[in-house]
């Protein structure tokens, strides 16, 4: 039970991109330097977000990434599943059917209680993640963060963002 290391970076980048004006983008290198992480590795995660229709990538000079839709339409769950994959955390191997003397499949029509309980817990987890949107994170950051931190983020966006005409 451990989440991929890139989840944190992906969410931070998403919140940063949410602060951009429409049609503006940020490149991987700038984000990687700002957060002090490997640019090559961050690129992999941002690509995953593009594949899941969370980000849009713009190629070429003055290219970069921006959100695919409004920040209040992107939940934490969307981002986490994009990075981690949407496979359930608990995979039931049905070992109850193994071993000598086990009856045939007709005896196991009902799902076992263990699987049900584990999946219910995961639903709770996902439901909680789905409650928070990227817009919520941006709002709470603006409301609660230290002024220095806020100023640094604003300056970064102002200095680095590039305007890019929409093509979609």
């Amino acid at each position: 039970m451990k989440l991929s290391d890139g989840v944190e970076a992906a969410i931070h980048c998403a919140t940063m991109l949410a602060a951009l004006k429409d049609d503006a983008v940020l490149p991987t290198t700038a984000l990687a330097e700002f957060y002090g992480v490997s640019a090559s590795y961050l690129a992999k995660h941002l690509s995953a977000l593009v594949r899941c229709d969370i980000l849009i990538s713009v190629n070429g000079p003055a290219g970069g990434f921006r959100l695919q839709r409004p920040a209040d339409k992107i939940t934490l769950l969307d981002v986490v599943l994009a990075i981690e994959g949407d496979a359930p955390a608990f995979r039931c191997a049905e070992i109850r059917r193994n071993g000598p003397g086990a009856p045939d499949a007709s005896a196991y029509i009902k799902p076992c209680g263990i699987k049900s309980a584990m999946l219910a817990a995961e639903r709770a987890w996902r439901g909680e993640l789905a409650k928070t949107s990227i817009a919520d994170l941006v709002q709470s950051f603006r409301a609660e963060a230290d002024p220095r931190s806020l100023a640094r983020n604003r300056a970064f966006v102002a200095d680095t963002a590039r305007v890019q005409p929409r093509t979609d």
Copy 2:
């Protein structure tokens, strides 16, 4: 985000042990054969449950494992944490503090919203797991399982359980 493979086996074994009479134990080999899993590997997980005071091990001939306390006092969460470790799934590396121009630590007294949201989701997950006890699983199994499966489990316990005087 994936749970260790041994979680399923550990929970199954716990429910099986919950069906034993007091002072009876089951050895690793019997459980492994019943569930068709590797005995050596299962032993590792059962040892983890012993370390977390969920099971008691009895050494020597006629030895094995039994529950450390009543089944309704053992939750799914206890078992999962014993196998997976109790470290939180989301580990915040505080990358918001990285990069050039980041203010000193005094600017980051408040935990970031990302971390808070992720931990809240994990609390929901754990809370859900804590709702279900091993006793609940046994009860639902007895109420809903196929008669053939039920009979097989009963026969296994009757044939394999050994009585072992308590020493604690």
